[in-house]
């Protein structure tokens, strides 16, 4: 009956965590905002070219965890990481002090809750990440911009107005533009922090559709408050509570028959 909440890959064999190739692995990760500990010894694998959803009540640490993946916390003093996020294949600890946050961000892209396009043209928004990485050849940039916009399911809507300001797009289009911007440099992991919470249901469906389409090509980690969304778009789900990772499993299992009572209480809307 696990089919009741079927993941998107309906035709493929049942997913198994044990044999799945890992793109990254979080090991004993602690995170502190000054003295306050926000993550407590978190462990979980990030499976390669699959969508992993982080769910949990407000303040559980899911956004904090997501932000560790591209070292966003480094922007503020007093924040401290302990433990590891190993990025494969080279097995690099990306929260180590020795690793340059800029280097991490070049490999791991991020999309935020509210669309944040640059005050530039649609084309320049998507090309920005390429230029930062030193890609100058116009033909190549053109090709990557088109590819990213197509992957983000925005190409048909903007192909005739690439030079117009990104601010002229609707909220949903702006968010897809931000996803295209993140996708253009071909990142290894893309992080999404509640990417649809500011959007209407139609724009939300479009983003979910694009996640379904890219989910087998790019490794995605998504934070969402919408549990149905997590059930729809992700292959794996992690439930967090008070800075702890309570349960991590195949999405179908989490939403049909979770092992932990705290997970069950949360996903069914019960008092925990």
């Amino acid at each position: 009956m696990a089919q009741i909440v079927k993941s998107r890959s309906e035709s493929s064999a049942p997913l198994s965590i044990a044999d799945a190739p890992r793109r990254a692995e979080v090991r004993n990760l602690n995170f502190f905002y000054g003295d306050a500990q926000a993550l407590k010894s978190v462990n979980f694998p990030v499976i390669d070219r699959k969508v992993t959803a982080l769910i949990g009540p407000s303040g559980c640490g899911k956004s904090t965890l997501l932000r560790c993946f591209n070292r966003m916390h480094d922007l503020y003093p007093g924040n401290r990481y302990e433990g590891e996020i190993r990025l494969y294949p080279e097995d690099l600890n990306i929260v180590s002090r020795d690793v340059d946050p800029m280097y991490v961000r070049l490999r791991i892209g991020m999309v935020f809750q509210k669309p944040n396009p640059f005050p530039k043209s649609i084309y320049e928004n998507v090309a920005a990440g390429l230029w930062v990485r030193g890609v100058r050849k116009k033909a190549l940039v053109d090709e990557r911009v088109e590819f990213a916009l197509q992957r983000a399911a925005l190409w048909n809507e903007v192909k005739d107005r690439l030079r117009e300001s990104a601010y002229g797009l609707s909220g949903g289009q702006q968010q897809r533009l931000c996803i295209a911007r993140a996708l253009a440099p071909d990142p290894e992991i893309i992080l999404l922090d509640e990417p649809t919470s500011a959007l209407d249901p139609i724009a939300t469906s479009k983003i979910e559709e694009l996640l379904t389409n890219i989910g087998d090509q790019v490794t995605v980690i998504i934070v969402t408050h919408n549990m149905q969304q997590a059930a729809r778009v992700s292959h794996f789900t992690a439930f967090m509570h008070l800075g702890n990772m309570v349960e991590y499993d195949v999405t179908e299992k989490i939403f049909t028959n979770p092992a932990e009572k705290r997970t069950l209480d949360y996903i069914t809307g019960r008092f925990g």
Partner: protein
Amino acid sequence: MTEHILKAFDDDLREISSRVAEMGGIAERLVVESVDALVKRDIALAKRVVPADAQVDALQREIEEKAILTIARRQPMAVDLREIVSALRIANDLERVGDLAKNTAKRVVALDGDYHAQKQLRGVRHMADMVIERLKQVLDAYGARDAERAMDVWRRDGEVDSMYTSLFRELLTYMMEDPRHITLCIHLLFAAKNIERIGDHATNIAETIYYLVIGEVLTDERPKVDTTSFAKIGMPG
């Protein structure tokens, strides 16, 4: 189970589950009455069973509507989702149970009390007692959300099948013995088949309860012993 933050959701689920229990009670009563009518040649009772099945059908529709509305409104997950899916499934099984009881009652009316065959009825009565006991147990297991009790019914499914197979053979011998028994025996055979199917529905319900409580689908092959599909009739002489 702890309560939902949204009280109305608890009310919805309780309502659905109590409707299923109510439907179970009525379906069980119809089975008991249809068998009583058959064994006691009580045509008046049989005539009451036939229209009473409509109550079961109405409850099934009501459960279905409430379940669909609850899914649309609450987007249930995990145990809540299983609760609703189980209610739908059990309501389907009970609706069939009601139909089968009705069919037995119709046969009693058709026979018009024109039989005095305690010998032929004995086996049917015995089998019916067995099935009614299982139906009762499985409905109790639903009320108590008791997977172990449900599995007890599931494991004993084969007994009803064996009973039906031997009853089938027994009724054949009566028909061969005296062609005047054929009408009665054919009706009894169909009544017995109805009862055997009610047993199958009780087993279905047991599987559903297992899924509801444990959260996994029972994949084991259920114990099947009905071999009448392969039975051959050897005419004397």
